[in-house]
Amino acid sequence: MALDRIEENELIARVQNGDVTAFAHLVKCYSEQVLTLVSRIVGSRGDAEDIAQEVFIKVYKGIPKFRGDATFSTWLYTIVKNSCYSYLQKKRPQMISLDEDADVLNSISVLYPEEIPETIETRMDFQNTVMECLKKLPPKYNMVMHLFYYQQFRYTEIAEILQIPLSTVKTHLHRALKALRIEVVKNLENYATKGAE
């Protein structure tokens, strides 16, 4: 349920005046997007529901101080990012510290199979593989891939959400794609090997 900027500002003003119906409407508009992103970052549906609820509770508490310097969605997604990272810090600290070393990634020069598995396997298998491999990436790469290619945010918005420089957004995207390619090919090769067995 997309809101345009004017509708969104009116809704926020009403929430700031204490209108709980407006807040419920805001939650309904953004709950699917938030839950989708959170579940793809943290992996577990149950935990994702809890984190998504926590996000909206933080929105409710913080909205009186929201001045509109950033758009509401960039502010909201900043909260989403912080909540996801806090969760991962506690549950899977190794994922936060994992970082594909730039030199290592750059040194990998792989000639990928020319035939995309999408033409060999079913679309669903390939899609499932891609989605599973995304979860294995460092959270910052997974997050930036979703924000750019799925949520369609601009570079500047992603920079604001992740609180990183603009150039870093582009670099993260570039490395994320490369890391994802490597992971997907590895996964499909394993799948093909098991299939042959």
Binding site: V20, A24, V27, K28, S31, E32, Q33, L35, T36, S39, R40, R45, A48, E49, A52, Q53, F56, I57, Y60, K61, S109, L111, Y112, E114, I116, E118, R123, F126, Q127, V130, M131, L134, M145, H146, F148, Y149, Y150, Q152, K170, L173, H174, L177, K178, L180, R181, V184, V185
Partner: protein, 181 residues
């Protein structure tokens, strides 16, 4: 133009946002670079798979659950029930006012105020008195302007008008400056 120079173009291509001249620039490089050519077909397929992925729908009670966990404001009992207190007080005053009118217990109002009231309310007071007698079966032997001292008469009318306004606005929220909970 090398591979690093086309990173942004490449990313825009994957979002189908390239302008024609940008597309030409990118194609120029890709046609000469085997690695980018090879990677591009994979990246297109992967990004397409991501963009086609089904969103995760929240449970039906998601909004209810959020509300259940919202912090309750720390308010005093009086603040919490201010709406009910206002309406209850308004009811008391309006009820008292109606009772006084019903039983004709107002006394010694300023004569000029009585005449003004009578002039603008027409026969309202007399009609109200007649209606009361018909409904209650009680005949008013007293003049309705008896009992309460004149100096309180103004206060009485202001409070009575205010109380009536509160009750009407609570029942009909579209009235301007309605009493809101």
């Amino acid at each position: 133009m090398n591979c690093d120079d086309i990173i942004e173009l490449y990313q825009k291509l994957l979002r189908s946002e390239l302008l024609p001249d940008e597309l030409q620039m990118l194609e120029g490089h890709v046609s000469k670079c085997k690695e980018c050519q090879n990677a591009l077909s994979w990246d297109r397929a992967m990004v397409s798979a991501l963009q086609r992925a089904e969103p995760v729908a929240p449970r039906e009670d998601f909004v209810t659950e959020v509300f259940r966990h919202l912090p309750q404001p720390n308010v005093s009992l009086a603040h919490k029930f201010v709406h009910e207190i206002v309406i209850f007080t308004a009811l008391i005053f309006a009820g008292a006012g109606m009772a006084l009118l019903w039983f004709g217990l107002l006394q010694d109002m300023q004569p000029d105020f009585i005449s003004i009231t009578m002039r603008y309310s027409g026969n309202l007071i007399d009609n109200l008195k007649s209606f009361s007698e018909i409904v209650s079966g009680i005949s008013f032997s007293q003049d309705i302007w008896t009992a309460i001292p004149a100096q309180f008469a103004w206060l009485f009318w202001i409070v009575f008008a205010g109380s009536t306004y509160f009750i009407v606005s609570a029942l009909f929220p579209l009235v301007p400056y309605s009493v809101k909970k």
